[in-house]
């Protein structure tokens, strides 16, 4: 037993943490072996991020013990964690956008009261790390100008520069393209081979199976299982996480298409600096079908959703939504679109989908607040809103079922479920959905996809934008591929495969 403890880079014993009435982590214990990659999986709100934040000193545990390299330690602040060789890449990056890469790298480890020395040293060190791990970034680039993948590389470099021996990554691939994810996994393997201990939180079982040595499963704040990766598979893990059988196939019936509900003709969007964001986009979405838009993020999908939902007016071309014509001369606002029956689940849920400081019940009616039964004669009906929210939470399995909790205190996946619930519960004629399952756990992914198909079968015209090819392939009846602001191809779902879509997404092939 003593032997085992000495081998553990991290050992947590009986960690407990509550936020008010929410019991986020319940007596969790786990061991992470030195020089290994350990995966942590679990549903949204299972307590994964909370547990890691406790290990990193961002939160104080109510009870429990932390041992690093076999010695009990006190983690009062990130400073302690850094001192014990722990580095963390957070779910939301901790970078200063206006700083250069080098400035970000040395923040907190400047190596002296003057910057010059530290900057020079970091530059040399960066060149070395770039060679050793293939982590190349331009040291003088401003972080704001980097792609998300590059920003994440900066976060990892930051940790390595401080000589961390333990690296924690919280959903690192949620924002990455498939190619970037593959690079990341490669880097993690390299790190492990050089003796770094890696803890990887992710919802993507493919990644778990590809790189980890051991998987820890959390459910409702507890550690419920531990498996050697070699001895498990996706099905097994999914069931452990959710506590029931999860079906990966969606067995959906063929679409029964009705009339066209949403059409775009020669749509274009040019921004203030003259950059063409959307270029001659034409598409149709009919009642009873799901149209999927595939593409590497940043190829105009975000803007397309903004234009279709009425957030931005197009600069050219026209939209016809449920009989209403929209063009540059006849713009529409999102509220009018909503009235027409066009619901929108935005990609960026924290900024466009909800107000973090609002209660869950307020989030659940955002955009519909002036309608019955939430509002009579300009007065909000609080109890009615609360009841409505509780009902939505029940139907869409939002956890915890607490209409009175601040929206920001829900885990990412549960925020997403709440927003989806809000938009889908109104039985819209057209449903626009951006990244429906970003950061969402397996059980919820299954649920959300089924709900989308149910909406389709009820006659809703659904447009799904996703960077996850697998998601597009399993949901869509028709697939459009975007590249550089244009639609570069259309494929029927039955005829598409990942390789072919991947090539089109890279702009290498038109269909």
């Amino acid at each position: 037993m003593q032997e085992l403890t000495a081998d553990a880079a991290i050992e947590l014993r009986g960690i407990d943490k509550s936020f008010g009435s929410v019991h986020a982590v319940r007596g969790a214990s786990l061991r992470v072996e030195r020089g290994s990659i350990t995966g942590i999986v679990g549903e949204n709100g299972a307590g994964k991020s909370t547990l890691m934040s406790i290990l990193y000193g961002l939160y104080r545990a109510d009870a429990g013990e932390i041992l690093i390299e076999g010695r009990p330690v006190e983690m009062a602040s990130p400073r302690d964690a850094i001192g014990h060789g722990i580095g963390m890449v957070h779910q939301h990056f901790m970078l200063v956008d206006s700083f250069t890469v080098l400035e970000n790298l040395i923040l907190g480890a400047e190596g002296g009261a003057l910057l010059a020395g530290g900057l020079a040293a970091a530059r040399t060190e960066l060149a070395r790390l770039a060679g050793e791990y293939g982590l190349a970034v331009d040291p003088d680039a401003r972080v704001a100008d980097l792609s998300v993948g590059e920003q994440q590389r900066v976060e990892i470099l930051k940790v390595l520069l401080r000589g961390a021996r333990i690296l924690i990554l919280d959903e690192p691939s949620a924002v990455l393209t498939p190619q970037e994810t593959d690079r990341l996994l490669q880097i993690l393997r390299l790190l492990r081979d050089r003796g770094v201990t890696v803890v990887l939180i992710t919802h993507k079982l493919r990644e778990i199976l590809a790189v980890t040595d051991k998987v820890i499963v959390m459910r409702r704040g507890e550690v419920v299982a531990e498996r050697r990766t070699a001895e498990t598979d996706a099905q097994d893990l999914a069931e452990l996480m959710v506590g029931r059988t999860v079906r990966f196939d969606l067995d959906k019936a063929p679409a029964r298409e009705g009339e066209t509900m949403l059409a775009a003709r020669h749509l274009s969007l040019v921004d203030g600096r003259g950059v063409r964001l959307l270029d001659d986009i034409s598409l149709e979405v009919r009642a009873g079908e799901i149209v999927g838009i595939a593409g590497v993020s940043g190829n105009g999908q975000t803007e397309l959703l903004q234009v279709l939902s009425g957030i931005r007016p197009p600069t050219g071309g026209e939209i016809e939504a449920c009989g209403r014509r929209v063009d540059a001369a006849h713009p529409v606002d999102p509220a009018e679109m909503r009235d027409l029956g066009v619901a929108h689940v935005p990609e960026d849920r924290l900024r466009q989908g909800l107000v973090p400081a609002f209660l869950a019940s307020e989030t659940s009616i955002l955009g519909y607040q002036d309608r019955e039964p939430f509002c009579h004669n300009y007065l909000m009906d609080g109890p009615a809103v609360g009841r409505y929210c509780a009902d939505l939470m029940e139907r869409f399995d939002v956890r915890p079922r607490a209409p009175g909790l601040r929206s920001s205190n829900f885990s990412g996946g549960n925020q997403q479920k709440l927003i989806l619930a809000r938009e889908m519960a109104r039985n819209p004629k057209v449903l626009l959905v951006g990244q429906p399952t970003r950061g969402v756990d397996i059980g919820a992914i299954e649920f959300i996809r089924r709900e989308l198909i149910k909406s389709r079968d009820a006659g809703c015209a659904v447009l799904v934008v996703s960077v996850e090819l697998e998601e597009i392939l399993s949901l869509a009846d028709r697939i459009l591929v975007m590249f550089g602001g244009r639609i570069v191809g259309e494929v029927a779902a039955g005829e598409a495969d990942e390789r072919m879509l991947g090539l089109m997404m890279a702009g290498a092939r038109a269909a």
Binding site: P78, G108, L115
Partner: protein
């Protein structure tokens, strides 16, 4: 010819004299704003400092004691601002305004109680004042040079030192600073204290260098002009210095133009010239400076959930 030259030199000297408190205040405010703490209370700090400088100088007979008292007075208000905004995460603008009101009232009440001259301190002379060093007519007292040096100093600290890097970071993304293991509060307190130091010097300049005593409300909005200069200079020391000089020049010409009739225009409305800094600031804020250049976390208290 000779006459024009004299006029130009005199105007430049006047510009520098008027700009000195603005520069000191702007550099102080810059430190605070860079750390994410908006300081509307510059005006109040300067006023309080001006009062204590004159009061102390007149009681002790030493200008240097006056400078010390000025710094102390401004620091007390700076700490108050820090306590409200950093420790208790209060609203920074409200706290700043409260400090201004406090200073306005307190200086008058204390002045009346101690000296009984309707809020004024007794006139100062000789060693009770900071006197010109090289050119008696130009009024180049030590604080003018301190102000000139404060600009490269601020630039160097903000741009080239560890403290400056952290200061800039904490004004943009305090969470990143916290995650890097650095105390957000202590960093911001240091910034606020630096701000108090400079505001104190600016106040001392007003009452014991530029003028020979304190009179009520003698700051007359200069703290706000300094804030405008910071915005004008896009939160960078050298451009902010330039803005202070420009405002100083406007003021100096306004005084010269007082009562002058220009052909075709008639009498120049001095009020218009004096309002120019504010108008320009409004103008710039409305269109020319994107919000993006202000420290992103300015005005937002740092709350860590735990």
């Amino acid at each position: 010819m000779e006459e024009t030259l004299t006029l130009v030199i005199a105007t430049l000297a006047a510009t520098l004299r008027v700009a000195t408190p603005l520069v000191l205040c702007a550099m102080g405010g810059l430190f605070s704003e860079k750390s994410g703490i908006i300081d509307v209370g510059l005006e109040g700090k300067m006023l309080m400092a001006a009062f204590f400088a004159a009061a102390t100088a007149s009681l002790t007979g030493s200008a240097w004691a006056g400078v010390g008292a000025a710094i102390l007075a401004a620091e007390v208000l700076a700490l108050l601002h820090g306590f409200a905004c950093i420790t208790h995460r209060g609203n920074q603008v409200v706290s700043g305004i409260a400090i201004n009101i406090l200073a306005m009232g307190l200086t008058v009440v204390l002045g009346a109680a101690w000296f009984g001259r309707g809020g004024q301190t007794p006139p100062l002379a000789g060693t009770e004042r900071l006197n010109p060093i090289f050119f008696p007519v130009a009024g180049d007292n030590i604080l003018v040079y301190v102000a000139l040096l404060s600009v490269p100093f601020a630039w160097w600290v903000i741009d080239r030192t560890r403290f400056g890097l952290r200061l800039r970071a904490v004004g943009e993304v305090p969470l990143a600073v916290d995650a890097a293991g650095i105390s957000v509060s202590w960093l911001r307190y240091r910034a606020v204290l630096l701000c108090g130091l400079f505001a104190g010097l600016a106040g001392a300049y007003l009452s014991i260098a530029q003028n020979a005593g304190f009179s009520r409300d003698m700051t007359a909005g200069q703290g706000f002009i300094a804030l405008a200069a910071i915005i004008f200079g896009r939160w960078r020391p050298v451009p902010a210095f330039g803005a202070c000089l420009a405002f100083g020049l406007l003021d100096a010409t306004a005084i010269r133009l007082q009562g002058v009739k220009l052909p075709g225009i008639g009498e120049v409305p001095v009020q218009l010239i004096q309002a120019l800094p504010y108008l320009l600031t409004l103008f710039l804020l409305a269109g020319f400076i994107g919000r993006t250049v202000a420290p992103k976390a300015a005005g937002v208290p740092y709350e860590k959930e735990h």
